[in-house]
């Protein structure tokens, strides 16, 4: 009886989570005639194919926009930002938690506050810096700017995470014959893997969805990322190319959904570790 309830709830959530995907799929392959019906035809059923499916939107997306290019650009930015963030934020967070004692806390708070500064305040100084470095209209601008958002937050995240990992184990390693440096290089990373994964997922997510900075710093179509290129190319004035928009969203979100599912356990562990450490 309890089981049945559980399954019913799970099924409910599955429908809730899966419905957007279904809608994307439907919209991406529907003919325009089937999509834009208007409110007058009351016999029209919106959640099935009323006309045979078509590839017309997919052709528009891949043939008449730079979509594959944008995917590639996004990938470049994502990888660069994730690497930079991990390389900076993980050691920073670790040392703030473990090595600097009382000051670590205050520094950590300070770093977190920089994350709270709204991006709109930073446009002008950023454009100066970007111009100075000659990075206008290049992916380099994003690779420079995004870590300013990810690093403070992730440093703070890692700091909290490392605090929740008992120090005993690292001290034990120091007694067992390792130097502090060897402990940091060999023992600690393995203990904070969930924290590192959380950092990866966070930076990844941020880059995938960021729009405002991309809009500011990129102007040529072939330099754009997915989150910028797709709305710019497929929303013309007030005409939304729903089919192609949904096709783009689908192509991007399915691999993401799969990757997230592989990591989701660790990701959640990263956020809740302090609470349930056992």
């Amino acid at each position: 009886m309890k089981r049945a309830g559980l399954y019913a709830a799970a099924a409910g959530f599955m429908l809730f989570a899966g419905f957007p995907f279904y809608w994307m799929l439907l919209t991406a392959f529907k003919q325009n005639r089937d999509l834009y019906v208007g409110a007058f035809d009351t016999r029209h059923v919106p959640w099935i194919f009323n006309d045979p499916p078509t590839l017309e939107h997919v052709r528009l997306l891949f043939g008449q926009t730079e979509f594959p290019r944008w995917v590639l650009n996004t990938l470049v930015v994502v990888v660069a930002v994730v690497v930079i963030t991990v390389v900076v934020a993980v050691p920073a967070g670790y040392s703030l938690a473990r090595l600097t004692g009382r000051w670590g806390e205050r520094l950590g708070m300070g770093i977190f506050f920089t994350y709270l500064i709204p991006p709109t305040l930073l446009f002008i100084p950023f454009s100066r810096v970007v111009a100075l470095l000659g990075l206008q209209n290049s992916l380099g601008a994003l690779i420079l700017v995004y870590p300013t958002i990810t690093i403070p937050f992730c440093t703070w995240l890692v700091m909290g995470f490392v605090r929740s990992v008992p120090w005993d184990i690292e001290e034990q390693a120091m007694i067992d014959g390792y130097s502090r440096l060897a402990v940091i290089m060999k023992v600690a990373p393995r203990l904070i893997v969930p924290g590192i994964l959380t950092v990866v997922v966070f930076s990844f997510t941020l880059v995938m969805q960021e729009f405002v900075y991309a809009l500011t710093f990129l102007s040529s179509v072939d330099k754009m990322t997915v989150s910028l290129g797709v709305p710019i190319a497929l929303v013309r004035g007030d005409v939304y190319h729903w089919g192609a928009l949904m096709a783009a969203a689908l192509v991007i979100s399915i691999p993401l959904a799969i990757i997230y599912n592989l990591f989701i356990d660790r990701f959640i562990q990263g956020f809740t570790m302090g609470a349930v450490k056992g």
Binding site: P166, D168, Q172
Partner: protein, 356 residues
């Protein structure tokens, strides 16, 4: 007489956190091969003391010698020839039991084949050879404790530091583990510092016991010395279950503010003593009797005849069959040689003082 070989020596060792003295001027000399128990209530600085010996905590002042050599703050833990078992066991969660035990050996650069042999040997010694391929999360508390001890053992250290290694076990397991630990320590004859707040454990395990309170060592001695001749009221009441009875004496023959102390098991119905034995007789107003199977605890007071109000407990073994009616006053007595005197103001022991 041979000079005593010193395993660990602490001289005037202190550790402050802000203006809080966690460890306050401790002098301690632990003999080679001895098992010394650090006993004290929670928060008295036992762990801090142990961590300073291990080199995980920097002393505010004082000196530490291990095997006759001074270890300064710049001698790192790995160079001190110690092994420590944390209260949490601190097993590496992502390594199997075998890998956990091998970890200190890998650090010392021992060849792989030799490591495998040594791990197997040590695991067999602790009866955990069956679990070698498991992960710590797949073990019970008792098994984890043995893995932690086993990992400490393979290093072949000069000194073992054990921080409440049995605290996480249930009462029954704790008894067997205590016995195993004692036998193990006897066999390897290695200097061991054992921290606990459980006085039964301390009495059962220790060659000597150092009783700590508020960062200071109050008394150090064999379990018998600590039990029979406590140096102050803190030790007298901390060691022993139920604790030593302390009643104020108002007797012109004694200096004012004297406390009289006697163990509950020495406090028996008067008829129980041979007529020639010198005893101190009390009029014991019984309030309540607790039947515990092997013993009866009798609660009451001896407030007449110039004694204080404090509750007094008598511990009667089952062989003393005298009926004890609640609410009545009975004649109880304590052998004179079991009486101890303390200063009520300072708590310090007072020698001599003939009985009141």
């Amino acid at each position: 007489m041979d000079p005593i070989v010193v395993g660990v020596e602490l001289r005037n060792l202190s550790r402050r956190f802000g203006d809080f003295h966690a460890v306050d001027g401790v002098d301690l000399s632990i003999r080679e091969g001895e098992l010394l128990v650090l006993l004290g209530p929670s928060g008295c600085g036992k762990t801090t003391l142990l961590r300073m010996i291990a080199g995980l905590e920097r002393p505010t002042s004082g000196e530490i010698f291990i095997g006759g050599e001074r270890v300064d703050a710049d001698v790192p833990p790995r160079a001190r020839g110690i092994a420590m078992v944390f209260q949490s066991y601190a097993l590496y969660p992502h390594r199997t039991v075998a890998q956990n035990i091998a970890f200190p050996l890998e650090a010392s650069g021992m060849p792989r084949s030799q490591i495998a042999d040594k791990v197997r040997w040590a695991a067999e010694m602790f009866g955990i050879a069956r679990y070698l391929e498991r992960y710590p999360r797949q073990l019970s508390g008792g098994e984890r404790q043995r893995v932690a001890l086993c990992r400490a053992l393979v290093r072949d250290p000069k000194v073992f530091l054990l921080d409440e290694p049995l605290a996480n076990l249930d009462a029954k397991l704790r008894n067997t583990a205590r016995d195993e630990l004692k036998r193990f320590q006897r066999r390897i004859q290695r200097t061991t510092v054992y921290v606990t707040h459980d006085q039964v454990e301390a009495m059962g395990l220790g060659d000597r016991i150092a009783v700590m309170d508020h960062g200071k060592v109050r008394q150090i001695g064999t379990p018998q010395e600590v039990y029979e001749d406590p140096v102050d009221t803190f030790v007298a009441t901390f060691v022993g279950q139920p604790p030593m009875n302390l009643v104020e004496v108002r007797d012109p023959a004694l200096p004012p503010g004297t406390l009289l102390g006697f163990r509950p098991e020495h406090f028996l119905p008067q008829g129980h003593f041979a007529s020639g034995e010198p005893t101190q007789v009390f009029c014991f107003a019984v309030r309540r009797v607790e039947y515990l199977g092997s013993d009866r605890y009798v609660y009451g007071s001896v407030a007449e005849q110039g004694f204080g109000e404090a509750t007094v407990i008598a511990k009667l073994p089952a062989i003393v069959a005298t009926p004890i009616p609640e609410g009545e006053a009975l004649e109880f007595a304590v052998p004179r040689k079991a009486l101890r005197y303390f200063d009520a103001a300072t708590g310090a022991r007072r020698e001599g003082g003939r009985g009141p």
